[in-house]
């Protein structure tokens, strides 16, 4: 019955439309058959149109045989001929196409179409960001943005200390939703809509804080259409990479004996057979300190619930998110754990035709549980702990053994030694109002106010514990107390900051060809900090102040954390383009900072950039042969920015009271008179009434190209940043008898040059789509002037004068090889000394004077820490690559998607100290790679006897410590690694829709899956600082799903 009625109706309609128009029905889907909601269907040559509904279906009245144009953002536009055969069932499959041109990019105080962008701005979207899964957004950016350099120092839960910079410039300004905020590391990655990086004069609108570039984070807003509820999660585990293992007791005794036999004046054996015997015959076993203290893996997880939607009339849209991330450490005791909660609400409301408002509220709460000592100290303990010493005295679990150094087990257990709990929370709020000014079309007035604050709430609970010497002869357990007395320290601080922005925005096109945009903005910020702490020695070991006794109780504030500073700025910008072909942007910022004396307070920072879209010129546009060129743009920019991070109040004389740099175990902050401790004053540095920010000139030229409908894209940039007025202390040129430290002055200058290249290729072959993109960046800084003394002689000048020299020159000794036998030692043409043995390192007599000495030092590597004041030592050795690269490979096929990110660095060198440089440092233990060494076949043989037979190895005989400045101990830190790999499967919508589910994707993800590097035994990113003891990097494996209703 129904069918008949339908048939009749259809006939009627057909007849009717034959006369005028017919009703065309159809469905628009992507290549997977998933409906495209909101696709636009237009009749060519007419104004009529329709859009698809939630099922991708549309209905439109059109003349018969008309041509329909179907478009959808992110997909190639398609024309379809309506015919008798298809008018009722017009199913169209659109193919994805991403033309970068169409993208809108967030720039300083606004957005801009990528096509008309004239600055060096890179950006990534939420999807690109989330292919890597870690708890730190910085690590998720690694390798994805050309010129953004990320070196992960540690995988310690809750430790976000990365080397993160743009173009090697230094720590960038991070702006979240228009407000400078330091929480890039803690943002829930799911909340991020896009990240833009301003690398050149495009940052000039941020003036005095933008010398190192700007990272702009934009958070999500509500999506139009049906409300979406998305739950996503992943659960995974971490596994340490590049973690060297300490050796066992027999090996340690052997190395120790080697070291004492390594004495030309009297070789002795430190440990005799009696000492070896119990380990050889099994009455005692080596202590596996790692095994006692650490798990081989540690869990991590993340959960998110988000809501996104808009009112039907689009006047209100909302995005809400709640996230929870958790990461545990390797310590068996569970004393290292990180939990984070993220909450966000972003609501935009169009209140009237002219007024709209936006409110963004963000809350982050993090909880970090730490052992009472930092993790790096525990690794130091673990590497130093002697395997011949037991974990428990007399293996009795009631008595921890008292090791020669410190007991790593005790320090990882919070029940024994206490813990440190850091609870930080951030509240970030902002309200903005937009007002479309009447009578002037295109003028928008905006006011924005934000109030952010961070609360630090820390508890340090130290517990005294005993370790024991077991006197096997008497059977006594002799206690030694460690870590005492029981003490609790609470500290609390907050750092509120406010920001007010008032702006006028203008955007209008005149006569269809002159596109003009303007911005005038006034900004005020105020930042302050306050804190206090209290500590008490405990009567009863409870982690609360009330459990304390009056002896040694302290209540105080950290003066460094009490401050107020303010800035005021006026920003202006004009963008002009002619037909999108000739592009220009001018900007300025007038900044004033309370950090500087009144006369030096204000600064003016201009920026200009120009672009020429060659592809818009007729000779390309109209040439069929060049029709493959979608975009070809040349651009250049110049701008001035500054940095106001000088130590505050250096223009004021007087005294600090109290002297805050005292330490009770070093120079105390006072003296004892009449038995009382009297606080001392601090003598201030000589004031510098002229102190101000340094300025930085940035120049950039770039080329953007896109060919074959987005199949191939290229971006190239070359830049130069010249800084002058860098702060330096004239310490070295003023004689010490002046008797007072000097203030910082704006003295030094440098220049950073570099370039970036990014290539993309996207294609779809049937159901199979893939993306390949790669980027490489190079940066290097040259010192133009460095305040220093004149040298006494030309050698010293050559060796030490860094003016006009790269700042990363690593001076050291050349390395020739290892002596193979005594014959070679005896006949070597450089004096070797009577203690030399086969296997010893031969350093290069670089100047050929027949002696190996300090004069043979010459440049051998790069990547010394540019900011280091030491020529050697852990602070100087930083494996920060001058070249970084990344390659991303994305594949999708019938619901499966695979994303591989290769990432690496080159031109980086590293040298490790202390226990990573030599075995048995501090008479502790040795790491496994030191066993590969030269040593006599007979461990008791005199190594200085020429008849002694040797076994060769990578390292010299124990006791010969490699010169830390020798090429041999400086390792090339270049590496390439599969940074992240993600395999996902999206279930077909046809199945899901029956269950009311919009989408469901399951995935497996890995981080740091494999690494190719020449660095021995350690991860190439593992830093040499803190003696190389930092908590290791990890490999992680995650499994998760994302479900949208």
């Amino acid at each position: 019955m129904k069918k008949i009625v339908f048939f009749l109706l259809a006939c009627c309609v057909t007849i009717y439309t034959y006369a005028q128009e017919i009703t065309v029905k159809g469905k628009i889907t992507d290549k997977n058959g998933d409906p495209l909601i909101g696709a636009i269907v237009k009749i060519k040559g007419s104004s009529g149109g329709a859009s698809t509904d939630a099922n991708g279906q549309f209905t439109i009245s059109a003349p018969p045989n008309s041509l329909l144009t179907i478009s959808y953002i992110g997909f190639a536009q398609k024309d379809v001929q309506v015919s008798n055969a298809n008018f009722n069932n017009l199913n169209v499959i659109l193919t994805e196409e991403r033309l970068d041109l169409d993208e809108v990019v967030v720039v300083g105080y606004g957005t801009q179409k990528k096509a008309t962008l004239t600055g060096a701005v890179s950006s990534i979207s939420s999807e690109e960001l989330n292919t890597t899964k870690t708890s730190n957004v910085q690590n998720m950016m690694t390798g994805k943005l050309p010129g953004v350099r990320v070196v992960q120092k540690t995988s310690e839960p809750g430790d976000f200390s990365n080397e993160f910079d743009i173009r090697g410039f230094g720590s960038p300004l991070v702006v979240v939703d228009g407000v400078p905020r330091g929480t890039l590391t803690r943002i829930d990655p799911n909340e991020i809509e896009s990240i833009s990086v301003l690398k050149d004069a495009s940052a000039a609108v941020y003036g005095v804080r933008a010398a190192n570039g700007v990272v702009l984070i934009t958070t999500k807003k509500g999506q139009s259409g049906k409300p979406r509820i998305t739950y996503s999660n992943y659960i995974g585990f971490q596994k340490a990479i590049g973690l060297p293992k300490p050796i066992g007791a027999i090996d340690r005794y052997t190395l120790f004996n080697e070291r004492s036999m390594h004495s030309v004046d009297g070789p002795t054996l430190t440990y005799d057979d009696d000492d070896f015997a119990p380990f050889l015959n099994g009455t005692r076993t080596s202590t596996d300190w790692y095994g006692e203290v650490m798990n081989s893996t540690a869990p991590q997880s993340q959960h998110n619930l988000s809501l996104s939607g808009a009112s039907k009339d689009q006047s209100i849209d909302y995005y809400m998110n709640a996230g929870y991330a958790s990461q545990e450490g390797y310590w068996k005791s569970g004393s290292l754990k990180y939990d984070r909660y993220n909450f966000r609400t972003n609501v935009n409301a169009k209140i009237t035709e002219r007024i709209s408002a936006s409110i963004k509220l963000n809350g982050i709460v993090e909880d970090k549980m730490n052992p009472i000592v930092p993790s790096w100290e525990i690794f130091r303990m673990l590497w130093r702990a002697q395997p011949n010493e037991p974990y428990y005295a007399n293996d009795n679990p009631d008595y921890l053994y008292k090791p020669t150094f410190l007991h790593p087990g005790a320090y990882t257990q919070k029940e024994l030694s206490g813990y440190a709990k850091d609870k930080n929370s951030w509240i970030q709020s902002q309200l903005s109002l937009d007002y479309k000014v009447p009578f002037i079309e295109g003028l928008l007035a905006r006011g924005m106010f934000s109030y952010d604050t961070r609360f630090n709430d820390n508890l340090n609970y130290r517990k005294e514990f005993d370790v024991y010497d077991y006197n096997a002869a008497s059977g006594d357990y002799v206690p030694s107390s460690n870590n005492g007395p029981d003490q609790v320290r609470r500290s609390y601080g907050n750092t509120p900051s406010t920001l007010l922005q008032l702006s006028l925005n203008y955007d209008k096109t005149f006569r269809g060809v002159h596109n003009v945009k303007g911005l005038l903005l006034y900004e005020r910020t105020k930042n302050s900090g306050d804190n206090f702490y209290a500590s008490r020695v405990l009567g009863i070991p409870l982690p609360y102040l009330f459990a304390g006794i009056s002896r040694d109780q302290v209540a105080n504030s950290d003066i460094n954390g009490i401050f107020t500073n303010a800035t005021a700025a006026l920003v202006g910008r004009v963008n002009y383009d002619y037909k999108g072909k000739y592009l220009a942007e001018f900007s300025f910022r007038n900044d004033a900072s309370s950090r500087f004396p009144e006369i030096k307070r204000e600064g003016f920072f201009p920026g200009v950039s120009l672009g020429w879209r060659i592809s818009e010129e007729g000779f390309i546009k109209n040439s069929p042969a060049l029709s493959f060129i979608n975009n070809l743009k040349l651009r250049a920019s110049y701008g001035q920015v500054g940095d106001d991070s000088a130590v505050a109040y250096q223009f004021i004389s007087g005294y600090d009271y109290p002297y805050i740099n005292g330490s009770n175990s070093g120079l105390p902050g006072g003296h004892v008179f009449d038995g009382d401790f009297i606080n001392s004053i601090g003598f201030r540095v000589t004031p510098n009434p002229n102190i101000t920010w340094y300025t930085s000139d940035t120049k950039n030229i770039g080329l953007d190209a896109e060919f074959w409908g987005g199949k191939f894209g290229l971006t190239f940039d070359a830049f130069r940043r010249s800084r002058s007025g860098l702060l330096a202390t004239r310490l070295v040129t003023v004689p010490g008898i002046f008797g007072n430290p000097l203030p910082q002055e704006n003295l030094n200058s440098d220049e950073t040059n570099g370039m970036e290249l990014a290539l993309t290729h996207r294609n779809t072959l049937g159901n199979f789509g893939y993306t390949v993109s790669g980027n490489v960046a190079l940066t290097r800084t040259k010192i133009i002037f460095q305040e220093r003394n004149r040298d006494g002689n030309s050698y010293s000048n050559w060796r030490n004068n860094s003016t006009n020299r790269y700042n990363d020159i690593w001076f050291g000794y050349g390395y020739v090889g290892q002596y193979q036998d005594f014959n070679q030692i005896a006949n070597y043409d450089v004096f070797t000394g009577r203690a030399t043995l086969p296997g010893d390192y031969i350093y290069e007599d670089w100047n050929g004077d027949g002696v190996f000495d300090e004069m043979d030092i010459h440049p051998i590597a790069t990547s010394i820490n540019a900011n280091s004041t030491a020529a050697a030592g852990a602070d100087a050795r930083r494996n920060i690559p001058l070249m970084t690269f990344g390659m991303n490979l994305g594949l999708d096929y019938k619901g499966f998607d695979l994303n591989l990110l290769f990432q690496g660095g080159a031109l980086s060198y590293v040298s490790y100290g202390e226990q990573l440089r030599q075995p048995l440092a501090f008479d502790g233990n040795a790491l496994d790679f030191f066993l590969d060494r030269w040593h006599p076949v007979d461990p008791k043989a005199d190594p200085y006897n020429p008849a002694t037979e040797w076994v060769s190895g990578y390292n010299a005989y124990t006791g010969t410590v490699i010169n830390e400045l020798a090429e041999r101990s400086i390792q090339n830190g270049a590496y390439i690694r599969l940074k992240s790999a993600e395999l996902g499967y999206s279930l077909p919508k046809s199945i899901l829709s029956k269950a009311g589910v919009q989408s469901l994707r399951v995935f497996a993800n890995a981080y740091n899956l494999f690494t190719i590097t020449g660095v021995k035994g350690l991860d190439p990113e593992h830093p040499a600082e803190v003696y190389g003891y930092l908590y290791p990097l990890s490999q992680t494996f995650n499994f998760g799903a994302s479900l949208t209703f």
Binding site: D272, D275, S311, N388, S481, D656, G739
Partner: protein
């Protein structure tokens, strides 16, 4: 989830809302502009002269100066911070002098730490006070102003002396130096001669002596007697430099060294300053006994710990928890501390200086019979039973009770099958560096351990167990003591081992005590007596030196000199010919004075400087290997009485340090190099000889 209804509702109120929002925006704008209109934000913790030059402010100012005085105390070490204010006392000049040894240093330790800038900072801050305080007479009083200025001049003198000890003549400034518009000229002051430097220091001290009262206003601050006592030290140095120094003249300025003809003048000043405080202080003798050696030893040890000692002249106090040191934790014997415990090991060479020990003709400890076999002792303390009490008060000897425990010092144990009655030949001949392992008897019969706290015990036939090695070493791996002794001076005997921890000690450091003043006086007097000045102010120099030395010896429980003439001007003992003969001196009398100084002032950071001013360091410590004394226990008949005390028969083997560490002090070390930066920034600054 739809908000459509709300929106509609809102739209109905467009007009009202519109007005409100305009108003709100306007108010916000105004509020914003006004609220943040201040960029002049004053600092929170910076104060000015007006607040500082007051009674309370001066306490803070002087606390800064006193705390920065270059006092070589518990926090003096060669590791960092110009050598001052570090907790970790590993590398000390006393390792070069043979007072002390430890496993961390196996050769000459260059103590040059470039102390310069921080010294001149103290000098500037003292100069600022001296220049500006007179303007605040009204807020303070004339008397207070005078007193503070005198103290500042004392501190300035003390600081210049620290520089002069290290560099010889240094640039002298007694005013706040200007640095304006990058003009470096006023700062490029050349070095004064060493003589001028000492004269400047002495003039500051004379001012302080004349203008300060005799009593300190607060304990811990200086007074005129402190200044006089310190002057005796400074003048003695100047006199020694004049007599023994090697002049080094550049551009007519004697940068180091003082013309020899000045020697007697300085020695006279030293004598007079020392003599001037006679009767104001006295040697500590609270529990001294003429008969009880243990009481006399404890008396000596207590003088360093008793806050009310009449011997203390100037001190630096500590205060837990604001200002602490770690001397007990780092320097106690290993089983008497919770950490470290291997740093304070007096050498046998040092121990042999003391009276009351069996010694051979070389002056060395005699522990073997004439036939080269070991003398067997019935218990471990027996060898040192009759020693001079001061030794026991300075050093922890094997088996000595301390902290309620006993020092447990034993290199190894002879297995039970070895009968003490059967003579044992010395393991390694005297003067050899060979290891014990090279002796087959030793290898077969002695049990030893590489670490003191992880030993495999020997089971006796009685079923009892004993450790092969003592809990305080010496071990075969040279852990714990490397000499067979531990130090006692300044250690707190009441601090339980388990709570002997880092950063918790607060003993007072005695920078100047009366014994030193007596020794300064004796040395100055004898220098004068032997160089043509037989009396000063009517006092016989020879007799005065004799009296002072005997006063020290009496308190020490040592053998007294019998006659003033014992301090003879005859030739000294040649090295290797008697007790203390390695201590070099031009005459026998001065040799005795110098030995006395070593015994009395060891571990007080004084002897290194003494050896420099006597100019004997390079000759005395020339490819020198310090000696040690290793006790060995016979397992046969041994009875454990406590975990750290085993009663049994012992032999003692005296030998060279088993690390074979050789020490040589080069002549270049008599003065430190002026820091290179200073030479570079001041073209008028000349470098020291040999650098």
């Amino acid at each position: 989830m739809s908000t459509g209804k709300n929106t509609t509702h809102t739209l109905l109120n467009i007009n009202v809302m519109n007005k409100r929002i305009k108003l709100i925006t306007f108010v916000l704008m105004l509020a914003g502009l006004n609220a943040c209109n201040k960029l002049d934000i004053p600092p929170i913790n910076i104060i000015q002269d007006e607040a500082v030059f007051t009674d309370a402010g001066m306490q803070a100012y002087m606390a800064s100066l006193y705390s920065r005085m270059p006092i070589e105390d518990f926090k003096y070490s060669g590791s960092e911070n110009d050598g001052f204010n570090t907790w970790n006392q590993i590398w000390l000049p006393m390792l070069n002098t043979g007072e002390n040894a430890n496993r961390n240093q196996g050769g000459f330790l260059n103590p040059a730490r470039g102390y310069w800038d921080s010294g001149y900072q103290v000098i500037r801050n003292a100069n600022y006070l001296i220049e500006n305080l007179p303007n605040y007479v009204n807020t303070l009083t004339q008397a207070k102003v005078d007193r503070w200025i005198s103290e500042a001049r004392f501190i300035r003198a003390f600081t210049y002396f620290a520089l002069a000890k290290r560099y010889g003549g240094v640039p002298i400034t007694d005013q706040v130096l200007p640095y304006e518009n990058g003009n470096l000229e006023p700062l490029q002051i050349p070095r004064s001669s060493e003589e001028e430097t000492y004269d400047f220091i002495l003039s500051d001290l004379d001012y302080a002596i004349a203008n300060m009262p005799e009593a300190s206003e607060q304990s811990g601050r200086v007074n005129s007697n402190v200044a006089a006592a310190f002057k005796s030290r400074v003048a003695l140095f100047a006199g020694s430099k004049a007599r023994y120094g090697v002049p080094y003249v550049v551009n007519g300025v004697m940068l180091t060294g003082i013309p020899p003809e000045k020697a007697n003048e300085y020695f006279t000043q030293a004598f007079q300053a020392a003599k001037s405080i006679e009767g104001k202080y006295s040697l500590y003798k609270k529990t001294w006994s003429g008969t009880d050696k243990i009481a006399t030893a404890d008396n000596y040890a207590n003088l360093f710990l008793d806050q009310s000692s009449p011997e203390t002249i100037f001190f630096k106090a500590y205060h837990f928890p604001d200002a602490v040191h770690s001397f007990d934790a780092v320097y106690s014997p290993p089983h008497m501390t919770s950490t470290y415990g291997d740093r304070f090991n007096p050498t046998l060479d040092y121990v042999e200086l003391f009276d009351g020990l069996p010694k051979n003709s070389k002056g060395q400890l005699q522990t073997t019979n004439a036939d080269g076999t070991y003398i067997v002792y019935d218990f471990v303390e027996q060898l040192f039973e009759n020693c001079e009490p001061r030794l026991r008060g300075t050093v922890l000897l094997p088996g000595q009770p301390f902290k309620g425990l006993h020092t447990d010092i034993r290199r190894g144990t002879l297995i039970e099958s070895v009968d003490p009655a059967v003579p044992i030949q010395k393991f390694v001949a005297e003067g050899l560096t060979a290891s014990y392992g090279s002796n087959p008897f030793y290898s077969a019969n002695v049990r030893q351990a590489g670490t003191w706290n992880s030993q495999t015990p020997i089971e006796l036939s009685t079923g009892q167990k004993i450790n092969p090695t003592g809990l305080d070493g010496p071990t075969s791996a040279n852990n714990a003591t490397v000499t067979g002794f531990h130090g006692r001076k300044y250690l707190n005997p009441n601090l339980e081992a388990s709570v002997t921890r880092l950063h918790e000690s607060s003993q007072t450091w005695i920078e100047i005590r009366y014994a030193e003043v007596l020794l300064n006086r004796a040395e100055a007097a004898l220098e004068l007596a032997q160089n043509g000045v037989s009396s000063v102010d009517g006092v016989s120099m020879q007799t005065d030196a004799y009296t002072c030395i005997n006063e020290i010896r009496e308190r020490a429980g040592a053998t007294l000199l019998t006659l003033p003439e014992d301090l003879s001007s005859g030739a000294p003992l040649e090295p290797g010919t008697g007790v203390g003969s390695y201590v070099l001196a031009p005459t026998r009398g001065l040799q005795l004075v110098r030995i006395e100084r070593r015994k009395e002032l060891a571990f007080e950071h004084k002897l290194w400087w003494d050896m420099l001013r006597w100019r004997t360091a390079d000759l005395e410590v020339n490819s020198r290997t310090w000696r040690k004394c290793n006790p060995f226990l016979f397992a046969k008949g041994a009875v454990p009485e406590a975990p750290d005390y085993i009663r049994g028969k012992y032999i003692f083997d005296c030998r060279f340090d088993e690390r074979n560490s050789r020490f040589t002090i080069p002549t270049i070390a008599y003065y430190e190099p002026i820091p290179a930066d200073e030479i570079a920034s001041n073209p008028n600054l000349e470098q020291n000889d040999q650098y």
